[in-house]
């Protein structure tokens, strides 16, 4: 016993030293982290300043380019704030395309369009597929007005939207090109969505349209948009059993094979929200946004993006200067009116078919099998 206590003291001193060592380690790490944080904050502030200076410089350069393009003999084509510089402007339908593109931008984005076109767009007209291009976007000389307009709009891009609106919309706000085609596509979505809310919308229920468009931004939208059978279909189309681990597969089988709705709900709850099949996609919502902007007239887009914390319904109402029911009603009416025509054979296709039949028949009749000479 008397000999044991010096050993015990030594051991406890060692343990205390170890603990103290650990405490020192963590304290040292904490101090180091704090110093790094201070340095990072300083560097971050300086970085933001440098970036702002760079942005200003870029803007100034763009302004100079815009102001002096004509003087430098670059034959700029301008409509509104959009300037396009092409090396052979007369060989492509540039004026018309620029005018249409600017019209589309200003109608869709209002005052925000100017920021998109601060930098003039450069195009290089190519007459040969193999031509090497080092400056500007290549554009074939046989480009149509529609294609050129889309190219220009692709190059200007779209203004950024806040995360909340982007989450609902599925993307940034896009200009609507071919309104008839868009409406026809949304009509098809309504009809084929396989969702009770979409069916109700098609049959005239504005509440159904609001639900199908997920305007309430509900993360458990599948409880209201789909019925039990449709939820089962959503699970079956969202995943295949082979891709699942054992635990998920058990829930999947209970849902899809045993038709247990609670299992379907549980499975859908475990899926990331963007992967759950939605009744109406980005195209339908973008058309709704476009409808709201058109109803709201001047400044509509700015009003839409003014309050990024507001719910989507409120933002659309503010943009359109109308209650949401009115906006959705207008949208629905346009979609119903945009029903695509039934498939028909065009006269050209019919003539082509007859022409081929005639050619083959001629070949058969002229065969040596039938001819005596």
């Amino acid at each position: 016993m008397c000999r044991a206590w010096p050993v015990a003291v030594a051991l406890s001193l060692l343990a205390a030293h170890g603990v103290a060592g650990q405490t020192l380690d963590t304290a040292h790490l904490h101090r180091r982290a704090d110093s790094l944080l201070v340095l990072w904050r300083e560097a971050n502030t300086l970085g933001e300043v440098q970036q702002a200076v760079r942005d200003v410089r870029r803007q100034k350069s763009a302004q100079i380019t815009r102001a002096t393009a004509a003087l430098r003999g670059e034959h700029p084509v301008q409509a509104g704030d959009l300037i396009v510089i092409a090396d052979y402007p007369d060989s492509i339908p540039l004026r018309e395309a620029v005018a249409r593109a600017w019209g589309m931008l200003s109608t869709t984005y209002g005052g925000s369009a100017t920021a998109l076109v601060a930098q003039p767009i450069r195009l290089t007209v190519v007459f040969d597929e193999r031509q090497l291009v080092t400056d500007g976007r290549r554009v074939p000389h046989r480009v149509t007005v529609d294609e050129l307009e889309r190219t220009l709009l692709g190059m200007t891009g779209q203004p950024r939207v806040d995360a909340r609106f982007s989450r609902w919309l599925g993307n940034t706000v896009h200009p609507v090109f071919d309104t008839a085609a868009e409406r026809g596509a949304v009509y098809l979505q309504l009809v084929t969505a396989g969702a009770s809310a979409a069916t109700a919308c098609f049959q005239g229920s504005i509440a159904g349209c609001t639900t199908a468009l997920q305007l309430s931004e509900d993360s458990e939208f599948y409880l209201t948009v789909y019925d039990a059978a449709q939820r089962r279909g959503a699970v079956a189309s969202g995943r295949t059993a082979d891709m699942l681990g054992p635990t998920e597969r058990a829930t999947y089988v209970r849902c899809v094979d045993d038709h247990v709705d609670s299992a379907c709900v549980e499975f859908l709850r475990g899926m990331p929200l963007p992967q759950i099949p939605q009744p109406l996609n980005f195209q339908a919502r973008n058309l709704l946004v476009s409808t709201a902007v058109q109803l709201g007239g001047a400044g509509a887009y700015d009003r839409l993006m003014a309050d990024t914390s507001a719910p989507v319904i409120g933002r659309l109402e503010r943009a359109a200067n109308q209650p949401i029911d009115r906006v959705v009603t207008t949208w629905r009416a346009a979609v119903i009116a945009g029903r695509p025509p039934a498939t028909a054979v065009s006269p050209g296709e019919g003539l082509l078919a007859v022409g081929w039949m005639g050619l083959i028949a001629f070949g058969a009749i002229r065969s040596t099998r039938w001819r005596l000479t």
Binding site: G18, V19, G21, Q22, T23, D25, T26, L29, H30, R32, A33, L36, L37, L39, W40, R41, A43, N44, L46, G47, V49, Q50, Q51, R54, R130, L132, V133, T134, D135, G136, R137, R138, M155, A241, D242, M243, G245, P246, T247, A250, E266, R269, G270, P272
Partner: protein
């Protein structure tokens, strides 16, 4: 040779030459300005990014050491009490009932995994979202920040293996939706334990095994499942259930090639030497035992289908005593496996791979039976044709 024959042969050879020359001249490279990368960050922006990365690393390391320091006394007590369950610490909101449930589940898992108690204490820390934020005005998170992290025993802390689990869909299902289905929780907890389960059950690995783990071996110890009676059939990669194991559909191959290294694909094609090379490359082994590891990059390319259960399956195959001998061996990993199993690394790996994985036919050769089934009816038909011709002979 007839004149027309010369023309035909000459023409054919000329066309072949044109084809060869045409294919040799490569395609034009077109440069399109929209493909050019964005401009570099500003000088201070770059500095800030570098400092941010350093800060994240240091802050993360500080949190790990803090957890370790906090849990060391509890680990000592648990070892003294027999080491019947990993330690659990939840950083963030949780109810007493949830903590009790998780303790109980961990105890049940450990009873199967290491009935004799742990040799190295295993501590599991679950970090809820609310506890995971560094605070305002700090560098934004990196993809690696949320990855499962392991801190292995080192010279100062020889007796604890620490696991830090950040909030994930599985933990959210448990804490928020109260998804308490046993299979889900059991799998979530045992998969989280990862390599630390091996440390806990079998102790610190031998020097050479540790060096192998530190190089490429972590991918093989991620899912400890040796206490399950049978092997997990899930391949960890999509394989169509209606396709036979030796005839995957064409579209599957490109994904498979992207998913695993060439040696892994060659192993499933039956090449024993490449099976071994895929597991153990003696030319590139780390100098030291593992100290720290996180799961941020392992999923990008896995060495095998279900490679994550490789060492678990070996442990099940060998039993605790022989696997312990393998784990603590001080010879290179391939030799240790040979001593433990009696088979070479390549042979054991090939039979392991083929047990649940597909059999791949590499190269253009057709399976021999396909050749037989094709030639047999063709030759029979030809024989019938000759026999029929003989029967129709007049005179």
């Amino acid at each position: 040779m007839a004149t027309d024959l010369r023309y035909w042969i000459g023409g054919t050879l000329a066309l072949c030459l044109i084809v060869a020359v045409g294919a040799v001249s490569g395609p034009d490279v077109r440069f399109s300005p929209e493909d050019a990368p964005h401009g570099p960050p500003t000088k201070w922006g770059g500095e800030a990014a570098a400092l941010g990365a350093q800060w994240r690393g240091t802050w993360k390391r500080w949190r790990l050491e803090t957890y370790r320091a906090r849990l060391t006394p509890a680990a000592d007590s648990a070892r003294a009490a027999g080491g019947t369950a990993p330690l659990l610490f939840i950083d963030g909101p949780s109810t007493a009932a949830q903590r009790g449930e998780l303790h109980r589940d961990l105890g049940m898992i450990w009873k199967q995994a290491a009935p004799e108690g742990f040799k190295v204490a295993v501590a599991l820390v679950i970090v809820r979202d609310s506890a995971d934020r560094a605070g305002p005005d700090t560098p934004s998170e990196d993809a690696r920040d949320g990855a499962l992290t392991y801190l292995f025993p080192d010279s100062l802390h020889r007796d604890m293996c620490l696991v830090v689990v950040h909030e994930s869909s599985a933990s959210r299902r448990y804490f928020q939706i109260h998804d308490q289905s046993t299979m889900t929780v059991d799998r979530w907890l045992s998969e989280s334990l990862g390599p630390c389960a091996f440390y806990g059950a079998y102790g610190i690995p031998g020097r050479e095994i540790g060096r192998w783990l530190n190089t490429e071996g972590m991918a093989y110890v991620i899912y400890p499942r040796w206490w399950a009676k049978t092997r997990d059939p899930w391949l960890g990669f999509f394989y169509p259930s209606d396709a036979p194991k030796d005839r995957p559909p064409s579209w599957w191959w490109v994904s498979m090639y992207s998913f695993m290294p060439w040696d892994g694909a060659a192993c499933y094609g039956g090449r024993v030497a490449r099976c071994a090379r895929n597991v153990f490359d003696s030319t590139a082994i780390a100098d030291s035992q593992p100290g720290y590891w996180d799961e941020s990059n392992w999923y990008r390319q896995q060495p095998f289908f279900s490679g994550v259960t490789y060492l678990s399956d070996l442990a099940r195959d060998l039993g605790p005593a022989r696997f312990s001998a393998f784990w603590s061996a001080d010879v290179p990993m391939d030799s240790a496996l040979h001593l433990a199993t009696g088979k070479s690394l390549g042979d054991w790996t090939l039979s392991w791979a083929r047990a649940v994985g597909p059999t791949l036919h590499l190269g253009p050769s057709a399976p021999p039976l396909d050749v037989l089934w094709g030639l047999l009816p063709a030759l029979l038909a030809m024989g019938a044709s000759l026999w029929y011709a003989r029967r129709r002979q007049i005179g």
